[in-house]
Symmetry: C2
Subunit: 246 residues, 2 copies
């Protein structure tokens, strides 16, 4: 079946597991019909396409690169094939385009020109970590990276913890893998003993996924070591007045 002319937001895998574990079949059928892709990194995009379908003819595909180095003025022209009636795909390096990556700029352009935008289902480490954490999913915030400098970071953590204790919000953020251990240290040291902290590592990796929620009190005595691997951190202040303890 011929697909609609639209900008397709195409999630890609976030671990080395099989594509069929994390991507619905419909995405694969759509990808096969697209010949123009806006991508964060051409090499990663090619590898993903080959993994989806080894018979895809990469040489027939036009790639436009959109990342921190791209001139924002160029982005509008990336949508020319779409204006001419061809479906266009957007892919980031990992996970869902537009979430914690520069793809949002092309999507906003498309919206600005009233072009149709269709988001496809796929893995988001933020969402999967939140689901598996058991923390509050009715009210949550994603903050990207926190400050690198210790004092500033700990001040930010205290601020987020106060906010969580007032409004029950789950606070979510990421860290560069080689700084995970330092981040964990800051968290154990700064947060209150009853605060629930989830550390989620290697999400969707069939062998190395590890998603663990404990109170700060429990974390302090646990032997858990965070690896230099992709990780998400989530915490939540139990409010004894608002909530039944378990």
């Amino acid at each position: 079946m011929k697909i609609e002319t639209a900008l397709y937001l195409i999630p890609v895998g976030i671990s080395d597991g099989p594509v069929a574990d994390v991507i619905p079949q419909a995405n694969i059928d759509i990808i096969r019909q697209i010949h123009y892709f806006i991508v964060e990194n051409v090499r990663t995009a090619r590898r993903f396409l080959k993994k989806v379908d080894k018979d895809i003819d990469i040489s027939a595909i036009t790639f436009f690169e959109l990342n921190g180095h791209t001139d924002p003025m160029a982005v509008s022209s990336y949508l020319d094939p779409l204006r001419e009636g061809n479906p266009v795909g957007i892919m980031s390096e990992a996970g869902c385009p537009g979430i914690a990556d520069p793809g949002a700029l092309a999507v906003r352009q498309a919206q600005h020109k009233s072009l149709r935008v269709i988001p496809l289902v796929g893995p988001s480490s933020i969402l999967l970590a939140l689901m598996a954490s058991g923390l509050n999913g009715q009210n949550f915030a994603f903050h990207g990276y926190l400050p690198v400098e210790n004092t500033e970071r700990e001040q930010k953590l205290r601020e987020l913890e106060n906010q969580s204790s007032r409004n029950g919000m789950t606070q979510i953020f990421i860290e560069t893998p080689y700084r995970n251990a330092r981040m964990a240290e800051s968290l154990f040291k700064t947060l209150k003993p009853d605060t629930l902290l989830c550390i989620a590592e290697n999400i969707t990796d069939p062998f190395n996924e590890r998603i663990v929620t404990k109170t700060i009190r429990e974390w302090r005595v646990s032997k858990f070591e965070t690896g230099k691997v992709p990780a998400i951190f989530l915490f939540y202040c139990l409010n004894p007045k608002k909530e039944l303890k378990i």
Copy 2:
């Protein structure tokens, strides 16, 4: 292949579209091996299982209901099959369990008992709307429902708008379908002309999905009418100092 003994978080469809459009094949293979499900609504869960695989023997499945009427003390016993070595699934009425539904309580119990929790990929209207909105996906917050009463709601909207203009956060919330039109009115009236608002309706519905981002100024003159359908609202204050306009 026999699956790991774990609590599986199983997303279900959020529209009437085909299951294969939104659920990876791996989920279906996992679902077939599970005989214990914690569900928000037994009837919806049965219908979803039949849609996944019409040959599933529903009579061989044990369902535990977990929703607003469930005694929190009972939830722990729902995990007994897991402690005895059987995989257990959690499904909400729509979308991802633990996100904006009571499933999180069972997940937190499992985490508390150090049982393995595995989140599966599937549709989340919050995440899909955020991707397709073109708004800031590096920093965002989900607030569930806003106050129903007009004055209170508009005060809350102004508060969220101020916050967004300070820190560039995309603000996300939902509304009961029959109140969508009133919510849209509040938004058009209360927010600043340059604020970008996305209204996302019927996400993943192959025929009726509509995800549109405009400035408040543009919304005020548009003929767009929000339907009595599932919808997500997102807005974001462009900060001219921090960001290139497009």
